[in-house]
Symmetry: C2
Subunit: 433 residues, 2 copies
């Protein structure tokens, strides 16, 4: 049985008391960005709560007025996981039916009125100031399918794949919060790859795609030259978000040799606005995709339950049309965990800063209907996705709205969800025409 | 004939009055980081000069006390190139023999004493807060030689190479200022690539290398979704620095498929501390490597003199040994200009921020002795570099000190130089042994 609250939280909400995810809000009455937590269909304004002395009974003493009045969660994240745990528990204590501190919020209607907002009344902002953003490729099923499409099943995975978490540096400046429209990118496209003279054309991408991923935010820096040992890596992770790493497959195919994807990825990546703490995900720990290789010691984890059982879903809605679920995947379809990614990322001494973002890579299952990218679902654009209402898609069209959802657990114990990671596609700008 | 100064500037200095590069200093008497310009063997403390009303005659009126008291040049850069021009000219005016404002500095010994420091007495810091760092691959001779080493002369350049400036996102958090020691990275290395079972070992890189590059800092942001037109791109560039993109070739060879280099590059990149404004480099404009392809319109520049004649030099000094110049290259050995790189980077809508860094890629000539990386000089480690004093190198050893230098023009008109971009190699940390 999950924690019961005196505050109304719908059973179907991913923001039960078992969750308490952190985000950054502003409101029509107060444009200042500040911290909040999500509670059912509402959010609790932590900046305002701190000003009104709402943290007086919290066992951790910090400058909460300052920490929660920042425009990002970086200051809070930098306090470290023991503090996050303590604050999460304190907020659960404030909100549970048998709260030990009823005078603070439960019995204080005036404070409730000034600190609690409906989520559909607030504006969400990027939760963190992101220094660097790295995208891994730890979804083995995705990597295998892509290798089959680009090469052949016998050479689908490169020789390094099962020895290290493959990754590339991506673009921090174009990470945006859920709800931000995505402009279709123009770029160079090779329309006839088989031609002897390879001459690209300039046009909007014809193969705009999603990538269903999880993102992890760093909360503890490591000094340059000093790797993060794998046993300590999870303490350096603030929490997880949903991540849609938008991809232009035709631009990617032409540009990506020999240094990897560039303009095919850097036009946008969307994250969900609420950061779910690792503590909230702890009950959903499970085993990922088994790696038959013996990994080098710096990548060996004691706990084989190193990923999370998160039910992931991708929904596509054409402009004016009906929503269609085009994929059901799961956070456990990873062959490397976030601690392994972090240990690898820093093994040569690369410094990580608070707010750095690490993407998992596309998370796909093996069965039909579980793929996390349209290029996989359509087998490289050869097949078609049938949508509710009769429309078809191989890749995204202008006006399409994508929603990624993620949720753990059950209603009985309280769902732990991420909220929507969504965006609508806008037409490419008309250039040089 | 160049500008003459009342202040002693050695003829051999790259910091003549024709230059006036900007950097960030602190001093033993004042640990606060603030802006300065380099003048001969000295620097002029702009933070202090502003506090002492030294900008009273500058035609551009800004909050100079605030702008030049920041710990980075980002605020100054964000004012835009017309303001940089005006300030550079004003500082030249203050320092020239026939200064129109002798009362401000020339005849004010007390202000000179408090604002002018010997460069060997100040600590230099990273000049900019770097948001994102992108490394291009515009040194065609380097790209060709690497292609010959990794593939064969017929397929040395990929089909996309002459159509677009190839690039990858690199790591902003590990960009350090000249003088910072570089720790040799550990990592996964495949010692026997020909073996049927490919099993990497964990050890310090045995193929630590330099990459001789130029770096450009962005001073004007573009909105997400809105490309920077090529005709406007140069106005978005604050200035250039020397850049050493340290590379671990053995780690790179194993990890880089299919998404590009990662840990082979992200342990460190070194930049020279003084940013040379594009205006100072203007007289040294020249033509780069000719591109026989007709580029797509978004990459076409009117001015074919789109790169700079910068004499580049790489010097290696073993611990306790003598310096040896191992390469003499030139900034003109590029097939794409920085404006072309910026136009390409943003063509899909990627937003650039003030302080973002763009690397040119390794700059190599075609003749022996002009290569910008040891892997090129030694033909992939097959040959040996003979150093003064009898030592030999294929790649860098612990204790080696590298210096990259860059200078334009002649002593008569005043040299325009970057100062040293230097670092010493420290041993790898002992891990898991």
């Amino acid at each position: 049985m999950g924690l019961k609250s005196w505050f109304p939280i719908p059973k179907s909400s991913g923001f039960s008391l078992a969750n308490i995810p952190f985000g950054i809000i502003s409101t029509s009455g107060n444009a200042t960005q500040r911290a909040a937590v999500a509670i059912g269909e509402h959010c609790l304004d932590l900046g305002r709560l701190a000003v009104r002395d709402g943290f007086s009974e919290c066992e951790t003493k910090e400058q909460w007025q300052t920490v929660f009045s920042q425009p990002t969660l970086n200051s809070f994240a930098a306090l470290g996981r023991p503090v996050h745990r303590s604050v999460r528990k304190y907020i659960q204590d404030l909100l549970r039916e048998d709260t030990p501190f009823p005078q603070i919020l439960k019995d204080n209607q005036e404070l409730q009125d000034s600190c609690i907002f409906r989520q559909d009344e607030v504006t969400m902002h990027l939760p963190m100031q992101i220094g660097d953003y790295t995208d891994f490729y730890a979804g083995k099923n995705h990597a295998y399918t892509m290798g089959c499409i680009l090469r052949d099943p016998k050479n689908a995975l490169q020789p390094n794949y099962m020895h290290l978490p493959v990754a590339y540096h991506s673009r921090a400046s174009s990470v945006v919060v859920s709800g931000t429209p995505i402009v279709r990118p123009n770029g160079q496209i090779l329309e006839n790859p088989a031609a002897e003279v390879k001459k690209p054309v300039f046009k909007p991408t014809q193969r705009l795609d999603i990538e269903l991923e999880l993102g992890a935010f760093i909360c503890k820096p490591n000094q340059m030259g000093q790797p993060v040992p794998i046993a300590e890596a999870e303490e350096n992770i603030f929490g997880l978000v949903l991540l849609n790493d938008w991809s232009a497959r035709d631009i990617q195919a032409w540009e990506y040799v020999p240094l990897g994807p560039f303009n095919a990825k850097n036009f946008a990546s969307t994250i969900s606005p609420w950061v779910c703490l690792i503590d909230a995900l702890e009950p959903f720990r499970t085993e990922g995709i088994k790696n038959e290789n013996e990994l080098l010691p710096y990548l060996q984890e004691k706990n084989t339950k190193n990923v999370f059982d998160i039910r992931l879903q991708v929904e596509l809605t054409p402009k004016g049309g009906k929503p269609s679920v085009i994929s059901n995947s799961n956070g456990k379809y990873l062959v490397y965990s976030f601690p392994q990614m972090l240990a690898h990322h820093t093994i040569g001494g690369c410094p990580m800063n608070v707010g750095d973002l690490i993407g998992s890579g596309t998370i796909s299952g093996t069965d039909p209907g579980t793929q996390g990218a349209m290029v996989e679902i359509t087998k490289g654009g050869k097949e078609t996705i049938q949508l509710e209402g009769g429309e078809e898609r191989k890749f995204l069209q202008d006006g399409d709205t994508m929603i990624i959802r993620g949720v753990c657990g059950n209603e009985e114990d309280g769902l732990v969800g991420f909220g929507d990671c969504t965006a609508t596609i806008l037409p490419a700008p008309k250039l040089y025409q």
